[in-house]
Symmetry: D2
């Protein structure tokens, strides 16, 4: 987990059909661990009774043989959650699991509802009580208040009242419903198992459990998986797609296919485009491991400059580490990355990263490269400057903390003490991204938010909800 | 925890005023550990923000220095819960802590609502969702649906709709409300601290934190503790008191005052009455430690037979212990109790216990005493035969498991292979108990339930609610 | 664990014969938990390979089903250790388990060697290395240096070089050797199982696993249990027995037989003798629970004063508890003990305890009784004043901390603010104790140490050895 | 940790001088985590008292703020140990920490003594007892038996009696001695801190704590670091150097300098040499991440074939993961690695790895690449076939498990179903490796063991020592 990266909120996985649905869900969550390490959970059902196991920590830590054994049945949904400060409590861990008029219900959500605070106030005014501080609980309350006879109808009725980003899995004892919001902000794909079906945030989860990728759940589509097979519905008005372009830049695993794109190849293409836009005379191109690797390869290929790996990553770094009090400078980065002695000595180095958030790591990297003897350090970023927070499910630092929202590229370059700094242009990024799909949300680069949101109310909604908890 | 005893559901403690309210609450819960070892929790408030720490296990295990430090503020409520199979999950641990229209709310409950299943069904039909399987959550939903402007009014409105046993603490960020149901099934007392007030299930909690006992919260009384001091309300129609007589027999700590009684002296008086009703020519009176001690002393005094302690208890017995597979008989009892060699050799022994539930322990004790050389074994029980399950907050085994509901005293005596067996008469018990208070619930001995309850629906309501969980 | 009591160092248990030797050893250790809660361990053998499981904490915490399953075989020895500050580390936990010239070896020790520091220095000078700070390791080194061909001979050779108190179990893959030092300071008894033999510190361990008590291992006796059955040897010169009289006063469980005495009846007899020596005109006799109970009963019977239980013990008190910072007086005692309201009001109370070490608890108890309304408080102690530290295996506070080593009985009485204070006389104690056995060590009351010890060197030997550790 | 790789036994770090020696040692161990994840430990000293903290698990798990705070002082040594089955117990965790005639002593060892079993037998015959099953304890016993007056002399005396591989750190309360065996099998380097000195297995540990690399400890050199500064001794007869060539191939971190080599550049050079020796007509060169990366880059550069990263590694894979029972084939590899869709479609792929041990992973990788559409799969290994076990500190599988010890390259290629398979030649490897240093041990490739070892006795010595343990 890199403190200087943006982070996605969640991964979701649903499995219907096979005898060990929870174990396949567990594997899917394992493959999607990069989308959230705060908490993880699975709810399974044998067709009658639902079983839940939810805990703080990674898939690997939470799910023991014992806990998986307590999750019998042929359908299951699971969730990984990203750790944000303050909200990181078991009561917010998903899937949420409740009883309501039509029985038991579990829900797993990737995204963020922009009108959650308002809906919550209104539901509370009508007598609802909330046990979590998560926006997802709003959907449950809306479903519970629906008078619709079928689960499907109550889901539709509830979702018609919320706005924002959601890829959702909803499960009762005998069916799973997968939904993607009409804008399709977050990804969600559908796969086939020998004896059933799987829905997951990314295709790499399908690969691991040897499911065949069928297609993406479409923006605005609701897929019901039950004894009657897989049924598709489009209950919402059509909207122009707003796929999160940052999935392609950083979030998704490079071996996934997202929004119809091969993520790895797209990242290489971003690197190539960057080389065309911001060439430099240099001796070697190196990536910031591991996220800058594909773009660095693309840049090197396009620029005809040798590629090498000048920074080595310590893969054993855990989430906590103890600093000596008589501190040594640049420690947080040094424990993770080290330079190769001699390799960069006297060289003109291009260092490629996928994005810059606060800029703290980048500054330290430039300094490390100089100490390693680099004659010139040219930083290249395979996405545009991030200037605005995300409202659709990405944990973004405040406006003030986003370095590019306050400073010009020149200023940042000089702050980093780099010889040059260039970002991929918005146009260049879009040109690459649009080769297969048209509609993207790039509000974090432009501030043009596709879903109108009552700014003052909702931007801080999570904070408002938060209280110390369980 | 004796597997052959009845168990109370909970202890509750509330503290208002002092700077370290959570720590005093913690101590109160410590003193009331005997009323529930499954889970424990505290919610505190500094007047604005509420903080919660809830965990599975005993007070001593759950509350570390760190966790208590996360509970700042001058008001707090706490709860100990008794472990029942299947329901023993964190999601049912109390205090429950939620958000609703009027802000944050915590609730701690001792008792059982007889119309909880029906109310729950009705609330769900109106759109409520339930995250626990506890009857207590019903009260929260009713409060959330109240249109009343003040917390107090919403509590009254909610409680007017429920029936059964409840001693409750309800807290928002700046006040605590303590309520006892109109029948006063479960105890609840009020104390004064140097700098505030305390409410607790039993007076022994007051003793520990050096609070002065003021009085019991009255049946049907609602006490509000806030910046405006302590205010008393009687919003419910008056009912004949139905104090749980079993608190006097077994549940309450002997050093507590409950329903105006000194528990220890009452138990001695039960023993004396038993000696008058069921005398026997014997050499020594011994208690089943520790619960039979006061009654055995009373019996011995009244009968003029020497008192001694023929059974020694191993105080280090934990809740789990591992049996050899090639099992030795009577293990569960032997690990807890052992006889004094020689003491009982050739003696005619009266062994006094407070109650018999399934009879399994009693049978083993008679056998142990015979092996220790007792010439005669006369068992005396300082309460009547338990023939009916409790509906008001006590975890009772099923009808079939209550030995006295199926068998006569003669039959039981012969099953125990005792020389004689006698229970305290219902009249005798009541005569002793009524010396200070009139109204008691003794339905577990008589089957005469004071609050009409739709038998089939509600008896198993907890089971119906239960599902595998968090 | 009472902070104001003396504490024994250890319990030892050995089982030879049955298929589940480790499980029976575990049960024996469970019964002897009162002799040490710091660490516990078992070494078992299937006749060829030895297996060890040792951990910090109580029997109940350390031994899970899994760990017991890793201890197969038909012979096993186990050990409980008492927690002393600083030394409480896993490296000192027993049984110690090593390899030496004749294979693998495990040892479990109750007692203390007075010449351990000197022997250790001498062994180190000869090239031995020590991994623990325990005196027990000295014995292992001496055995390892023995040229004797048989385990038995090497044990004898080693023990001929050490002085002090030891009840020992030594085990190789196919035999167990039990030894008691020539003075017999610490107890050790021999029992018979249906399919084997058991050795244990106290008979209560035999009771639990349904072994028949055969006899005590004699002072200076070495018992070898192997395929050849039980063989007895007396390899050491005979010494006058020096049984630890404190085992009878406090250490041993009341349901044990120790040194041929019924512990419970002996304690009652101490109480009776105390009543004869120090009578008082009073209304009620109460014990300090639980250790003062038998003596209080004896006192009450002899004095003809009614016995009652005026102090109630909270059995849920763990080893840690958190004090509010704005502390309430007398907290450490109040969390453990509370008075019965009203019972002592206006009464002249005799309170009986078995011993006084630092006096801190006693002072608080007198104050609690006065607050409970006692008109007079007469403290009676069923053993003489403790004036000297033990050198033979009991963890005694320093000379300065022993209240009776610095102050007269009158002074202590006035410090306690008791109306009177009386200890059992040394003569009275001995008269009772000698009814079955002659030789006792009562050095803690007299300073007459039966085994000559180089005072300055060895008194602090454990401290000298101690270093921070594993 | 890759199950199909060889594993080094240990890392060692020593720090002398700065106020927080233990924290710097901890950081050094963090940087060397790749050399052992089974257990870790640090012993520190303030010049008088030594303190030890040792635990099972990784640096990150074992060392909390609390544990590091218990390690005061200005000198410290630390150790990481590799997890091997059966021996993986706390009693074998290092640094070993003991008392002997000259006080306290700690030792940390990387390597393996070939005559340990024989020495152990002889030491036991002379009365030594062993508490671990590690060969390192032999050195302690030899030192303890030395009559030498100084630590230094006793170290020399002890080491003159052992044979094999050792890079050692030995510490008493006020000095650290670093030694490397006369053949210099394992690396050890010396660095300078602003306020002191550091010794570590690899230079990457120096980088992290911002120490300056001074030089390697020489084969046969003994370095004493104390108040008198750094003193160098060469007490052993000179031997031809036998540096472990596998450190260059796989063990060392690529950012380290080992035996005077830049590890990363050496690996690239192995790849280049491999390209010259075993060229192939192909479309893309991909590494097996992460260990095959430098060699793949070198191969690609030399061969003029595009480099790409066709396999993506899941960095969240823990050491345990739970397989569904209705297993999916190739799971162990799939959870760690996945292919990039489309990237390899129809391509002729060269896949480069650093070595093959059992061949299980390689076979699965070939199959994964074919499933990803590769038209041809050419496997290239940047080291020769491993045919013999290591006797000098590397945990090698048995002869039977080493695929290359039983099968020809052709056979292995056909077993992998690869289109071609080529290893780097021994000559080629040596040519690259000898560019800076002459003497290497490459016994795992040739069976020519530089230190004569009594084969039958010592090969299995660890197994012989092993018993179940603490």
């Amino acid at each position: 987990m890199d403190a200087d990266k943006l982070h996605d909120e969640c991964a979701i996985v649903g499995v219907y059909g096979p005898a060990e649905a929870a174990k396949l869900t567990y594997l899917g969550l394992y493959a999607l661990q990069h989308r959230g390490q705060e908490s993880t959970g699975i709810v399974s059902s044998d067709g009658e009774t639902m079983h839940a196991e939810v805990g703080m920590g990674r898939v690997n830590d939470v799910f023991t043989e014992d806990r998986l054994a307590r999750l019998p049945g042929y359908l299951a949904i699971g969730h990984n959650r990203y750790a944000t400060t303050g909200l990181s409590t078991l009561r917010n861990a998903q899937p949420l699991f409740v009883d309501y008029a039509r029985g038991s219900l579990a829900i797993a959500h990737n995204g963020n509802l922009v009108n959650a605070a308002r809906m919550r106030t209104s539901l509370e005014a009508d007598g609802s009580i909330f046990r979590s501080t998560s926006d997802t609980e709003v959907i449950l309350h809306l479903m519970a208040r629906s008078q619709a006879g079928h689960l499907l109808d109550s889901v539709v009725e509830a979702l018609q009242q919320v706005q924002g980003a959601y890829s959702l899995l909803i499960m009762n004892p005998h069916e799973i419903i997968a939904v993607r919001d009409p804008y399709g902000f977050r990804p969600l794909c559908l796969g086939r198992l020998q004896t059933g079906h799987v829905v997951a945030s990314e295709t790499c989860a399908l690969d691991l459990i040897e499911a065949t990728y069928v297609r993406d759940v479409q923006p605005g589509e609701l897929v019901r998986i039950s004894q009657e097979g897989v049924q598709s519905y489009f209950p919402f008005p059509t909207r122009p797609p707003q796929h999160c372009v940052f999935e392609l830049i950083y979030f998704a695993r490079p071996d996934s296919q997202v929004f119809g794109h091969n993520v790895y190849l797209t990242r290489k293409a971003f690197g190539r485009q960057l080389a065309r836009e911001a060439p430099v005379d240099a001796d070697v191109v190196i990536p910031v491991p591991d996220s800058g690797l594909p773009a660095a390869l693309g840049y090197a290929e396009e620029a005809g400059i040798p590629f090498d790996t000048g920074l080595i990553r310590n893969h054993y770094v855990g989430r906590t580490f103890i600093e000596p009090q008589q501190a040594i400078r640049h420690f947080g980065v040094k424990i993770k990355l080290n330079t190769i002695h001699g390799l960069l000595e006297g060289k003109r180095v291009v260092i490629v990263d996928d994005s810059i958030v606060r800029g703290t790591t980048s500054k330290k990297l430039v300094s490390m490269l100089r100490q390693a003897g680099a004659k010139e350090v040219h930083m290249r970023i395979s996405s545009p400057p991030i200037t605005h927070p995300c409202l659709y499910g990405i944990d973004t630092p405040t406006h003030e903390e986003l370095i590019a929202s306050s400073y010009s590229v020149e200023h940042i370059c000089s702050y980093f003490q780099a010889d040059s700094l260039a970002y991929l242009s918005h146009e260049g990024m879009m040109e690459v991204a649009r080769q297969q799909e048209q509609g993207y949300c790039s509000a974090c680069f432009t501030g043009q938010y596709p879903v109108h949101t009552p700014w003052r109310d909702d931007l801080h909604q999570l904070t408002l909800f938060d209280k110390q908890g369980f």
